[in-house]
Symmetry: C2
Subunit: 304 residues, 2 copies
DNA sequence: CCGTTGTGATAGCCATGAGTTATGAACGTC
DNA sequence: GACGTTCATAACTCATGGCTATCACAACGG
């Protein structure tokens, strides 16, 4: 494997032209350079490839034997280059969109439409990510862009555009005393202060600030919440609420994934609304990524 | 085609080991050298082939796409090297034996037997050469060894061994007056002096000293012979003699090729015998060539 | 908690490779 | 016999590919 592809190309060129001078100008190198390279190749193989007869050049038997193989090697390499080129463009056109649960609200089709209208070659690919990763795959590079809940940990590592801002709800078993209280509330809401003593379902500790956010730590004045259980997906949350392990805060858009059977969700007074954003890495300047963020910014302007 | 085979080998090695350090020691290069080469390859292709993650190395999508093609290129190159190797040994084992007419006298089988008994890999190939080339292909390299008539032009450029020494004959039409004279001669011969006025068939002028030799210029004391025609093969000679264009000197061993129908050959008194030799280029030191010459020397010792 | 080990990247050095221009030797052509 | 063509050679430049030494970082183990 100790040969330069260029040398093989030089060899085939001389073999085709049967002239060092003509081959050299076809290859845009000087004739001595070509002569030397061919000699190097011959030396390397321990073989004479051309019979130079002062005036004429012709292939030796060995050269004749090498020629088709040299062409095969070059063809194989061209195929390799083509494959790389194809993989490169495929990679450039693919946009991996991370999300913990489906963002819903018609966001995906809206953003997709805006993306492909400006970049018809774009190939958006959706990727489901565990709730534990607040960055929905941005942090480890498995997503190019992602739907995330603000606030993000390491806020300055990301660029983002808010696409939805909506009150947080609390998911309750339908027989829960607070369910009745909400029913009698003029706005159908419960006060967060009424939830302070409730056991809460929490994200795993690895979720960091995101865990704190969905426990609404900022609204508890430093008092630690009671933890009724650990959940990492909508399905688990539904199960845990229905079985009475605890209650859980939800984004309005995620409510349909949790509310069914014996679980209801009611708005909460006294906590900040949730903010859903499309994010990417701060230093990511790729065209498709920026285009998706721009689309998100436009859509966000109409929905928020 | 602008890539070094080595780089592809490096690439496949790293892809197999998934570790620069291990791949480097497998390849007997230092780890930094390997790192640098892979970076060069990536730069050349404008692509990232490996994802280096401090602790782990893994192929990117593009690297994955390249890998099988890289292997294909390497395989193609190995096939090419094998083909060259085979052609090289084939060339080393082939011995091209040039001859103007078949030397006859059982020489070819005898020499062949001696050659292959010592070099079983030898592949003797016979090659017919026009009479005009006294060196029977040695001069232009189209023969490795050759049966030639002495004296050779450029005597010092060749090494040779005499394998047959025999009187020269003259070919005559069977109705020629000298035919009858020969029949009445006690030895069945004619004197060369009787031939001095006869028209002679000559080789073409390009044949040089060989032409002079078969006109027996040395036996004419400087008088120019009459030229009845130009011939360059046994067939032409027979035709020309039969049609009465002239007479021609022949080596005894060649007589059977010319004597038939209306042409006869009789020994000539007063000219030197012809000498058939096996020759090669003076500076040719190849084993098979020397072996064939040695065989010729042995056979010549028994026949002369 | 800190030192050890193992990994890939970086820096600086040097021999060689691949290109250049200028020139030479052999041969055909006018 | 001067000229043009063709391949080989010489002398030089600059990039390439290799080395050693060292760094930065993560994982382990005491």
């Amino acid at each position: 494997m100790n040969v330069h592809g260029r040398d093989l190309y030089y060899f085939t060129s001389v073999a085709e032209e049967l002239s060092f001078t003509r081959a050299a100008e076809r290859l845009f190198v000087s004739q001595p350079a070509l002569s030397k390279q061919i000699r190097m190749l011959e030396k390397q193989l321990g073989v004479v490839l051309f019979e130079r007869d002062r005036r004429t050049v012709r292939l030796t038997a060995v050269g004749e034997a090498l020629l088709p193989h040299a062409r095969a090697v070059l063809a194989a390499w061209q195929a390799a280059e083509a494959a790389v080129e194809e993989a490169k463009t495929a990679e450039r056109c693919t946009l991996v969109i991370g999300m913990s649960t489906s963002p819903g609200r018609g966001l995906l089709p809206a953003l997709r439409a805006r993306l492909v209208s400006r970049h018809p070659e774009a190939q958006p690919v959706l990727r489901q990510v565990n709730w534990v990763d607040a960055s929905a795959g941005l942090a480890d590079g498995s997503s190019d862009v992602a739907f995330v809940w603000l606030p993000l940990p390491d806020d300055d590592r990301y660029q983002y555009a808010v696409v939805a801002r909506e009150p947080r709800l609390v998911a309750l078993p339908d027989g829960h005393p607070l369910a009745a209280r909400a029913a009698s509330d003029p706005e159908g809401k419960v006060d967060f202060t009424d939830l302070l003593e409730e056991p809460f379902l929490a994200l795993p500790p690895e979720a960091g600030p995101l865990r704190d956010y969905w426990l609404a730590l900022d609204a508890r004045d430093g008092r630690q919440p009671r933890i009724g259980g650990v959940v990492a997906s909508a399905e688990e949350t539904h199960e845990a609420v229905a079985s009475g392990q605890g209650v859980a805060l939800l984004a309005t858009g995620n409510a349909p994934l949790v509310v069914r059977d014996e679980v209801i969700a009611v708005p909460v007074r006294g906590i900040s609304p949730s903010q859903l954003a499309v994010a990417a890495c701060q230093d990511d300047k790729r065209t498709l990524v920026l285009a998706y963020l721009a689309a998100a910014r436009e859509v966000g302007a109409t929905t928020c």
